[in-house]
């Protein structure tokens, strides 16, 4: 039941984050959505994710505030034009309709079919020695994902440093 409350709060905070005029308050509203997500992870029995989400959220907020703090905070004139509004809302309505139909056929909430994961749960500790099964999955059963993951972060750090360097091109002679 508390998940329903959290989710409704997140949707409300997200709408506030999108619609509010001032940039800084929309950044704060996104922070609220992120922390509510962290709470949702705790309720869903995922402590690993709660820690990671909390900490990543703080860093994201710092970077976002750094990007918007002393910029001119213009009065944000509302949306682009009517056709764009209609097409977006139409697309969202169709997307939600079909997702409702598809969601009905998925296993019900709270009863996941866990064929592959049974092996992880039974042999997690014995085969990998790690008590935290999630870490066992990350660093042993599916360690290749984490290599890709570390590369994603490495790419974004190198990419950011490449974008933020001062003289982009040597001036032609």
């Amino acid at each position: 039941m508390e998940l329903h409350i959290l989710l409704i709060f997140m949707i409300f905070a997200a709408i506030v984050a999108i619609e509010v005029k001032d940039l800084l308050s929309s950044v704060i509203a996104v922070g609220a959505v992120g922390f509510a997500l962290c709470l949702a992870f705790l309720v869903l029995k995922a402590p690993d994710l709660a820690i990671t989400q909390l900490v990543v959220e703080i860093l994201c907020l710092i970077i976002l505030i750094r990007a918007t703090i002393n910029k001119d905070l213009p009065l944000v004139i509302e949306g682009r034009w009517v056709f764009n509004a209609l097409s977006t809302l139409g697309f969202i309505a169709v997307f939600l309709l079909f997702s409702w139909l598809a969601l009905r056929e998925l296993p019900r909430f709270g009863e996941p079919i866990m064929e592959v994961v049974k092996k992880y749960l039974q042999e997690g500790v014995s085969k990998t020695g790690a008590v935290n099964i999630v870490t066992a999955v990350i660093l042993d059963f599916r360690a290749y994902d984490t290599l890709g993951e570390a590369t994603v972060l490495f790419t974004s750090v190198i990419g950011i440093m490449a974008i933020l360097r001062k003289p982009g091109r040597k001036k032609k002679e």
Binding site: M10, I18, V33, N84, I92, F95, L121, G124
Partner: protein, 112 residues
């Protein structure tokens, strides 16, 4: 069933933000909300009623553990989201430095 649908509504709020807003930072915020909804949707899939966190206790043998696989994948996806958001924010900062505004409709130096 309702939880999944609420999560997809949150996803659509983020999508609305990305497609409709003119301010670059608002688009980045919409993207962030879409990432949050995406991660929550995957973890919701792995929840088990009165299940336990997937960490073995020393004494008893826990049988009803929650599904650890979505948690492992969403950990990866959270850090991917951080990487993409940081990259897009640094592009936005450089754009602000060059164009002097965050308004996407005014950033139109590209021809065609």
């Amino acid at each position: 069933m309702i939880l999944y649908f609420l999560c997809l509504i949150l996803f659509c709020v983020g999508l609305y933000g990305v497609l409709r807003k003119r301010n670059i930072v608002k688009m980045i915020i919409g993207l962030g909300i879409m990432e949050y909804a995406m991660n929550l949707f995957f973890v919701l899939m792995g929840y088990r009623f009165h299940g336990r966190a997937p960490i073995d206790a020393k004494d008893q043998n826990i049988l009803n553990m929650v599904d650890p696989l979505p948690q492992a994948l969403v950990l990866t996806s959270i850090v991917i989201g951080l990487g993409v958001t940081a990259l897009v924010i640094s592009i936005a900062i450089r754009i602000y430095e060059k164009y002097g505004t965050f308004d996407i409709t005014k950033i139109k130096r590209l021809k065609g």
